[in-house]
Symmetry: C2
Subunit: 188 residues, 2 copies
DNA sequence: ACCTGAACACCGTTCAAGT
DNA sequence: ACCTGAACACCGTTCAAGT
């Protein structure tokens, strides 16, 4: 019953999806792997590092190349992909947002969004600001949506639909703001 | 040595600011109040409820009425006030963002931003979406900035200045997006 | 109304030692 | 390389009982 790093990450994702982030403890994960808690520290320096690896894996599983085309379509697709990657697992948004805020992992999300903005006509500084703004919306919205699974079963369906619409509306707001900046650069 | 709810909240803010959110534990707070941990449960049902009260108090201390004027100026001022209210205390952004995501408190932040959008020409649905988008930016940006106090002392000053600029640039992006939506409504 | 005492069921992490 | 055993220093929460 000996394991590799990848086994640990895989089981961690399973625990996350089945029991939620609060129950993804080192002790719980260890018992799921049929191992003592201290064994996990052979694979990861600490829990934060393990969570960062889990976050990176969630993103790696959810992100694929965005289609060629105009920057605004690409950006919308990239942001939606990140969102979907987070929402695909229980507490996925909170996990990735926490890891990202801590500065350890989740870098792939930023890169994915930033790449879609290349060649939009803004300089690197503005593209970075725009990418971070989009990412804050994606993380914040997905976290709020995922944490708010405290609705009635009837209302939950309406709530989900409303959340999808609200996200795409919010994203269109940010995209419109970026477009205004792009146009002002083109005019001058 | 008997205390009221307000004493507990006040001491909780002091512990937060001095030691950070991770060290704001029920046991730590109790010992700071010279009381057994179980005594806290006479004032609050659980830790989440206590944190919600702390978040509300932080916002109450930082928010004041925004000036009369155009919606975009008011919105910028409101968003900056929320941001400043969070940054005024150690881990203030993470605390309020967490409480807000959990849906218990921090409602004042949304109300403050939403109020600035009244009379901008958008219907209530769009104003709510715009307010949430701004709030995601404020929370996300402030949390990232506050968590990233892991720079060299020399670089830290530059980092702070850069963060302020990046926030106001990101905010101007969102404001421009809202303006585009306002103008499209006016045209039709 | 506000607090104590004592317990319950947990955490993350370290480290010497085993195979 | 990977794991055990045993410990250390913590958590949030409950509840009968005290004043």
């Amino acid at each position: 019953m000996r394991h590799h790093r990848s086994d640990v990450v895989e089981h961690a994702i399973a625990v996350l999806d089945a029991y939620g982030l609060a129950d993804l403890t080192m002790r719980r994960l260890a018992s799921e792997l049929d191992v003592r808690p201290s064994a996990l520290y052979h694979h990861f320096a600490n829990k934060q590092t393990l969570l960062a690896a889990v976050a990176d894996e969630l993103l790696a599983r959810g992100l694929r190349p965005v289609d060629e085309g105009e920057w605004d379509v690409r950006l919308t697709q990239a942001a939606s992909q990140v969102r979907d990657a987070l929402l695909a697992w229980r507490d996925g948004a909170e996990l990735v947002a926490t890891v990202h805020a801590f500065g350890l992992g989740g870098r792939a999300a930023y890169d994915h969004v930033a790449e879609a903005l290349e060649g939009c006509g803004l300089d690197e500084q503005w593209r970075a600001t725009a990418a971070r703004t989009v990412l804050h919306l994606v993380f914040g919205h997905a976290t709020a949506e995922q944490t708010h699974v405290q609705a009635s079963s009837a209302g939950a369906i309406d709530g989900e639909v409303a959340a999808v619409d609200d996200f795409s509306d919010g994203l269109s707001l940010v995209v419109a703001g970026i477009r205004a900046e792009v146009d002002s650069r083109r005019a001058s």
